[in-house]
Symmetry: none
Subunit: 141 residues, 2 copies
Amino acid sequence: MLLGEYYHSLDTKGRLNLPSKFRGDFGETVIITKSSGEKKCLWVFSLSEWEAFTDKIKQLKISYSSDIVRYFLTGANEATIDKQGRIMIPQNLRDFAGLDKEVVVAGVLTKAEIWNKEKYVAATSELTGEKIEEAMRQLEL
Amino acid sequence: MLLGEYYHSLDTKGRLNLPSKFRGDFGETVIITKSSGEKKCLWVFSLSEWEAFTDKIKQLKISYSSDIVRYFLTGANEATIDKQGRIMIPQNLRDFAGLDKEVVVAGVLTKAEIWNKEKYVAATSELTGEKIEEAMRQLEL
DNA sequence: ATCTTAACCCACTTTGTCCCACTTTTCATA
DNA sequence: TATGAAAAGTGGGACAAAGTGGGTTAAGAT
């Protein structure tokens, strides 16, 4: 179970240290891919979660499903974790997510997300306390 | 069942002693998360209560529900209780709740709340006797 | 052949974990 | 009610791990 947000830094070689708490969930290899949606970030899957993800995508019953499959597969990249616990993030993916030095690694249960720090802060601050409370009321919590 | 308010202190390493009366309800590990709402504090769940909480969140039927899910998941952090009964509160969560040395740990049935002491005192003193009585009348108690 | 890029290795700083110790409070028993 | 023992709350040192930076070599491209 991937949880929490971690403020890490990309070094000049494009390497990123994954949070130590994620090491158990990821094995030696992970899959990095482009996120869907407006807010562009990177998704990081363990091999088993990646399989579960691609299985789901393949079951899509819409006409442009092959485009969707292509989007995620061509954007995907296998990365091995080095002795320091880091992965290399290819240039094209760094460009996609607009990553520079300061990044946030966020755990979202089955996958991790890698964000440009400014983007992350902006995205999270959009979610006002009011909206959260509205959701909580709906849940009767 | 978590009850009562306890005035404890965060040490220089960011450790907090949980009230001994809560030890039974929490096991060896707890989940700390950001609260919802304007008054920012931290929530502490036992693992079983956390699962019940995430199950409910996933049932949300609002457009920005995935943002809400992400808010609570990325705001969450697993913490193990050390031999002295303390947990480490990560820097980002301490910042969120504005915690410094003096904190209040409050029991709220299924979860505990961790407050900056000044904030806690201010929040509780806002709640006048009149407001409480109005609520009681509504409940027909 | 040369230049760029990725993999590997080593080193440093900061942070977290573990352990022990001290003080205060609580509680049972004399 | 006095008193000793146990538990609760707090502090800090030592060590291990996490996070970061950089140099060197091997592989691939131009």
